[in-house]
Symmetry: C2
Subunit: 331 residues, 2 copies
């Protein structure tokens, strides 16, 4: 049987585990040209909130990026046993009509799970937002929110490699210790331990902010606006704090003009053609130890709703994944 | 005697004429190296509000861009009778120590008043914001607020020359008629005659906004955010509506991420080195009739406070200037 996590209803407010129900269905039968993937690693991403609110159909498994292995193939282009990633779903097996949208994973580049973490969209997101949009320079101050998260943890390390002084914020003392000790940030403050983000910035970015990699929006973005340096750059990657509830006001938006700053929102789907240049470069940075990347892996399909809702509340350090079957490259 | 307009006190709220007092002082005597300018055209610019609020010294004439003629020179580099522009002041005569900061005006490029309008900073502002930052393309929709103003009136025409569909907003039916009939915009709506800017945009930009040249900020900016097209560009030139009072919230700031948009604040002082390339190009556009530029000239030093406060309230069509002495090129 195929255990699936279905979206049962739309949220009225915050995302809670009771929006999802478990379901058991027969493992699908691939028809001519189809591929059946046994899922191994399922992703839990903040952007899913918006889709859960208004896009994903009710009564269906939640569509997410996943890494799996081809369990059965009726398609000559896809051999059984091949490791792939694609938009699959929160379920144990996903039928892929015509094998469309799958990408083979090169296991020599890194652990196969990284195809949906540091060697996938989260990694590419950090790369585009930090180096293409943020363009940190030696001596500049780079600040990233959600510094212990899937994207922020890498963004800060790339900025540090570019020579910037790197400051993060995260939601617990353990995360801050991780960010400083393991990831090599110059500073990281616990946004729950300061009276305001502005206080944390005043303490840790005394010379202002030149580049802000924005993972949260809202009051944090506004606090950064008030501390921008001339010609600052803001890369708006995600605004997790405004996914739920009202968009926040930005009383300090005038700083964009005063400091001649640039704010750019971006979606990684405009940049996926850069993966071929990105993957070998990032793989080498990891292999040579210049970048550290941590995954926070929960076990079992039953843990998916908890893993997702917990990630939204910030209980993860690094990229949150759920392993739902054996990884043949590690067993 | 030299009639001067002094800043008497700081505003507690809106800018009113009683912040200023008139004063008569002896015409200054240039010392060695100094230049005395008889001012002809004084500028009235929105950006002065911020300086009046917190920068300009009390009891002194308000420093503004002006065009004048050298009345007396004790500096061999500056001949009497030369037309110049520079940061002078709201007064009839300005003493320029060492002749520093003056620029000779080439009267063959256009009327000498244009050195502080279309062939000066307002013109360069429209050029940088529209063509360098906005980059309108054929078929795109370009929207500019304050479309009848010193900068907006030119920004829209440059966007039209670049092939965009150009929509403006302004504060009276007469201004809208001017913008459409004289300046050749495709549409212009009276922001005082619609229930909200959003309503005006829905009517006149039914396909959304690709480029916004922001002269006002606040609710107008937020209404544009809600109607951005993918990869839209916002050039933040001025936010006259937020110069006075609190910065406005931007409930729709999330659109920056959703539409992968870019917002750039800019100050023309970062771009003044582009004047040599800009001036002959703009002069030719004017001469050949491809761009129309209107100045709204009041007469006499006594009218300066009214001219300035009225401009802030939107009583001008085109660039607001005050002529305070004879223009030798037109008499």
């Amino acid at each position: 049987m195929n255990t699936r996590v279905l979206l049962a209803r739309r949220p009225q407010g915050p995302i809670t585990t009771d929006l999802f129900v478990f379901d058991q269905a027969p493992v699908p039968e691939p028809g001519p040209g189809d591929v059946l993937v046994r899922n191994i690693y399922l992703s839990c991403d903040p952007y899913l909130v918006g889709r859960i609110q208004s896009v994903f159909p009710l009564g269906e498994p939640v569509a997410v990026r996943a890494v799996g292995v081809i369990a059965r193939s009726e398609n000559p282009a896809w051999l059984e046993g091949t490791i792939v990633w694609g938009f699959l779903a929160w379920e144990e097996y996903t039928l892929v009509p015509g094998g469309r949208g799958l990408t083979a994973v090169d296991p020599t580049l890194g652990p196969i799970s990284s195809a949906i973490s540091v060697l996938g969209m989260p990694g590419l997101t950090a790369y585009v937002g930090t180096l293409e949009l943020g363009q940190p320079k030696p001596g500049e101050t780079f600040y990233v929110s959600s510094a212990a998260g899937a994207v922020g943890s890498l963004a800060g390390q790339l900025a540090r490699l570019a020579g910037a002084r790197v400051v993060g914020s995260a939601g617990s003392p353990a995360k801050c210790a991780h960010v400083i000790d393991k990831l090599g940030f110059d500073a990281c403050f616990d946004h729950r331990a300061v009276s305001s983000v502005g206080e944390g910035l005043d303490q840790h970015c005394p010379e202002g902010v030149d580049v802000y990699f924005d993972n949260v929006g809202g009051e944090t973005l506004d606090a950064v606006l008030a501390r921008l340096n001339p010609h600052a750059r803001i890369a708006v990657c995600g605004q997790i704090s405004t996914y739920v509830g009202q968009g926040a006001g930005l009383p300090n938006i005038m700083a964009m003009l005063r400091q001649r700053a640039t704010m750019t929102g971006f979606s990684i789907y405009d940049h996926t053609h850069k993966l071929p240049e990105f993957l070998p470069w990032m793989s080498r940075l990891l292999r040579e130890g210049n970048v550290v990347y941590v995954e926070d892996v929960r076990e079992g399909i039953d843990s998916v709703p908890d893993a997702f809702v917990g990630m939204l509340a910030g209980d993860n350090i690094g990229k949150r994944l759920v392993r739902v079957s054996d990884d043949p490259t590690t067993s």
